[in-house]
């Protein structure tokens, strides 16, 4: 069995007792590297421009004059703003986390500075998992989206720009199968009824009960 590339470094605050974290995901590192390279570029541009003006063309600014103050304060604010922009993007990147445990899937999303959304999904309610690699960059660097279809026609959990989406999808399906294998038939029946209530159309021939019986016969 291929080992997951997603290592679990830390546990999360709302973890239940006995709940095992299977994987903890963030967006692919290339997302934050875009901002790192932008930061490097924006740090270099003024140095190059002012270096050209003052060292090559020989411009000077007399200290204590309004132009000097505008230059110093302007440059100071410029650097402060580009670093704050980078840090803000880093916070946004760092606080968007998807956690898959043996009981649930948790989606923690930081939207802007004052909006934080935490949603969770019972692992038993997973119906369908789709991975998607879109475009040349995502294909080359192997990152993309994972869509988790839950009960209902439009409800979807989305893992965005995660590393190795195919492997992530496989792990989620395996976690779902394992959870069903460990769950009592009464619990499965309850979840099935919830799903049927949410779905206008029935799931199909393979009910969760049958699926559980199949899953119990398999080794994970």
């Amino acid at each position: 069995m291929k080992r997951s590339p997603h290592k679990i470094k830390t546990m999360f605050p709302s973890q239940r007792e006995g709940e095992r974290v299977i994987m903890m995901l963030r967006r692919h590192w290339v997302i934050i590297w875009r901002y790192v390279s932008m930061l490097i570029l924006f740090n270099i541009i003024p140095v190059a421009v002012f270096g050209f003006l003052f060292l090559y063309l020989g411009w000077t600014i007399v200290p204590g004059t309004p132009l000097y103050l505008m230059f110093v304060f302007g440059t100071s604010l410029y650097y402060l703003v580009i670093w704050l922009h980078y840090f803000h993007e880093f916070v946004d990147y760092h606080l968007d986390i998807w956690i898959v445990t043996d009981q649930r899937i948790i989606n923690i999303e930081q939207i802007g500075l004052f909006n934080r959304v935490i949603s969770e999904l019972n692992i038993l309610k997973v119906q369908d998992v789709t991975s998607e690699l879109k475009g040349k960059v995502q294909t080359m660097l192997n990152y993309g989206s994972v869509y988790i279809q839950t009960a209902g026609t439009t409800q979807r959990f989305q893992f965005e720009q995660v590393k190795d989406p195919e492997e992530v999808a496989r792990i989620i399906i395996r976690a779902h199968d394992n959870a069903i294998a460990k769950t009592t038939p009464e619990e499965i029946q309850r979840v099935q009824q919830e799903k049927d209530m949410l779905n206008k159309t029935p799931i199909g021939d393979n009910t969760l009960k049958e699926y559980a019986q199949d899953a119990k016969g398999k080794k994970f």
Binding site: P13, I61, T65, F73, W83, V91, L95
Partner: protein, 84 residues
């Protein structure tokens, strides 16, 4: 009509206050929700260090400015001798 130099300092300090407000909330989010791992710690400390460095350099560069002096708005406002 004369323009006092402290006006520039005042504008800078107002901009800095707004800046520090946003910076504070970003740092707060990192420490409150960021599962404070190595990457989070590293970036937070780096950001704070860079901000402190920028502010220190700014203070050093404008420290000897005679803030109470005024300059006429027309002529002499820029104080640059242009290309030599």
């Amino acid at each position: 009509m004369n323009l006092p130099l402290w006006i520039f300092l005042l504008i800078y300090l107002i901009a800095l206050a707004v800046y520090l407000f946003f910076a504070f909330f970003n740092i707060y989010h990192m420490t409150r929700f960021g599962f404070f791992d190595f990457l989070g710690k590293f970036n937070t400390i780096l950001f704070i260090s860079v901000v402190v460095t920028i502010l220190t350099i700014t203070i050093i560069l404008v420290f000897n400015t005679p803030w109470l002096d005024s300059v006429p708005i027309t002529g002499g406002l820029l104080g640059s001798n242009g290309p030599e």
